[in-house]
């Protein structure tokens, strides 16, 4: 389907979901739903650089936390509505991503990945040493008295994250079907051939890194209001690091729907599991699933479905391609 149609459909779905949630009275639904939606954004953002362009980012927690702490700084200095803070968080994370990318993206993808891993530690170090935002002791954030819309504050946060999830998925799909997305795929498949074919690889990689980082920062900005107590240990939580990699890998990295599937599946399971098993065991299972999928089903659930579909049809019809005339 055409892009315009998709955006319209996405907006409609978003509105429908928003309206439906008005009917929900169980506050826990909003708490859990927020986390799942947040992971949809994080996974989709990760996948733009990881699945589409082929560059692995292990520092999701850093971009995410930068967004959160940008909101903290803004909260301490001004009163701004959360959507504005999200934009600010996105800008900060986007710039950091751009800067780090500029230094490391001229080299092989491996070095970029290692640099992101190390960067996560360093950003954490900076935050821990910065007393203005609470340092290692953390900081308390008081939610405003009135939620901007009707309903509880947590419902407001949930709604914001829902809109954010719809936007990021629509962005991902738009990219997939555009010349930019083809350029990303070329870089992923064979960077040297892409460059020789006229694709400005460095520029595109920087775009992917900045966009991915910005979306992660935007997802992080509402976090202080969600948790009300923010400390480096929780915001740099191991869970963000592994989930943002596991969800796209398990869901499927080649399409916008993979991260969504991964986030909804794993996110929901984890929300249910944290009340029954310890969070450490929970994360262990996610890690093991990641390893399992990477070895056995590297194209994720989407890949499994596609190869099942391909095997069933008589002639060898290839998987839906970006920017072709075939129906989605």
């Amino acid at each position: 389907m055409r892009n315009g149609t998709f955006w319209a459909l996405a907006i409609v779905v978003g509105i429908v979901l928003l309206v439906v949630t008005r009917l929900v009275t169980n506050e826990y639904f909003f708490f859990a739903g927020y986390v799942v939606l947040q992971y949809i954004v994080l996974s989709t953002a990760w996948n733009i650089l990881g699945g589409y362009t082929g560059y692995t980012n292990f520092g999701t927690a850093a971009f995410f936390a930068l967004g959160a702490y940008t909101a903290v700084v803004l909260h301490k200095t001004t009163t701004l509505p959360i959507p504005i803070m999200m934009v600010a968080g996105g800008v900060v994370s986007g710039i950091v991503g751009l800067g780090m990318g500029y230094l490391t993206l001229r080299l092989r993808g491996v070095f970029f990945a290692i640099a992101t891993l190390a960067m996560a530690i360093v950003v954490q170090t900076f935050i821990v040493n910065w007393d203005y935002v609470g340092g290692s002791r953390g900081i308390y954030i008081i939610r405003p008295q009135q939620a901007p819309l009707t309903g509880s504050y947590i419902e407001y946060l949930y709604s914001i994250m829902l809109i954010m999830a719809v936007i990021s998925v629509a962005i991902a799909r738009t990219i997939e079907r555009s010349r930019l997305g083809l350029g990303f795929a070329a870089i992923r498949d064979d960077e040297l051939a892409a460059e020789a074919g006229g694709v400005p690889t460095l520029r595109l990689k920087l775009i992917a890194t900045a966009l991915s980082g910005a979306l992660m920062g935007m997802a992080g900005a509402p976090l202080p209001y969600y948790v009300t107590y923010l400390d480096p240990a929780s915001s740099f939580n191991l869970a963000y690091a592994v989930n943002s990699v596991a969800m796209p890998v398990i869901g499927g990295m080649t399409s916008w729907i993979g991260p969504v599937i991964g986030a909804v599946l794993l996110g929901t399971i984890q929300q249910l599991a944290t009340v029954t098993i310890s969070s450490a065991l929970n994360l262990l299972i996610v890690g093991l699933l990641l390893i399992l999928f990477v070895i056995i089903a590297p194209n994720g659930i989407v890949g499994l479905v596609r190869s099942r579909r391909r095997a069933r049809s008589a002639a060898a019809v290839p998987a839906p391609q970006p920017a072709t005339r075939e129906a989605a």
């Binding site: 350029g183 064979d190 040297l192 051939a193 892409a194 460059e195 020789a196 074919g197 006229g198 005339r325």
Partner: protein
């Protein structure tokens, strides 16, 4: 009129190893240049330096009056300098149409005044595939192609960029005689359409029948440059190929 490509004193080292030294070369419009030399003589390195994949330490390269030094590969391709790879490097998750579409969109559509609409680009992709006999495999993935089909697609990808100068880097290695003829036919036709071609090859029969001019590289230096029959009879060339 100045040459299409002028190379002056080009040199390239890898650490202590001198891969190319003092290469001077002038390629005229419409030429069919054969570039030969024993393995390790620096042919591919030269192509890599000229197309921007590698950076040469010394010397200058001027393409149609424009200084190329400092330009990265994609900029040179956009100027009209294309190459096909020795070992085909397809975009393996994309079908053939998209493999052609990408260089098309990123060169032709990036040049001022030559923008193609989506429909025009789609038509052109199928056209290009048809020219190398791959029209019926347009929707297939690269892994479904035979060796020679893969080579043809490599050439089609390079042609999609509407080059004025094309480096065909060992496009015929490992092919059967009839397959070599197929590729040669494609190259002749491209040359007739106005593309200057540099053929880097080991298959002497093909090189001799194709080239209007022959350049021989040995151990990083150019030792012959001229009429193919004469260049072959150069004693240094004989020595390089047959030994003392």
């Amino acid at each position: 009129m100045s040459a299409l490509l002028e190379v002056n004193g080009l040199g390239k080292r890898f650490g202590g190893f001198v891969a190319l030294e003092g290469i001077n070369l002038a390629i005229e419009r419409g030429d069919r240049l054969g570039l030969i030399g024993p393995n390790g003589s620096g042919k591919s390195t030269l192509v890599n330096c000229l197309t921007g994949t590698l950076r040469n330490e010394s010397g200058s390269v001027v393409f149609d009056g424009k200084q190329l030094d400092g330009m990265v590969a994609h900029q040179r391709t956009r100027l009209g300098l294309a190459r096909s790879f020795q070992l085909p490097k397809p975009f393996h998750t994309l079908n053939l149409v998209n493999n052609i579409r990408i260089p098309l969109l990123y060169t032709v559509n990036a040049r001022p005044g030559t923008h193609l609409s989506e429909a025009e680009a789609e038509t052109r992709c199928h056209e290009l595939l048809g020219q190398v006999g791959l029209a019926d495999k347009a929707m297939r993935l690269p892994r479904d192609l035979t060796q020679v089909e893969m080579r043809k697609m490599e050439l089609a990808r390079a042609v999609a960029t509407q080059p004025r100068l094309l480096f065909a880097d060992e496009a015929m290695a490992g092919l059967s005689p009839s397959e070599v003829e197929e590729i040669l036919a494609v190259l002749f036709r491209l040359n007739e359409q106005g593309i200057t071609i540099v053929l880097i090859e080991h298959i002497m029969r093909a090189v001799m029948s194709f080239s209007t001019r022959l350049v021989v590289l040995v151990a990083g230096q150019k030792i012959a440059d001229g009429e193919p029959q004469e260049a072959i009879r150069n004693p240094q060339v004989e020595r390089a190929y047959l030994g003392e």
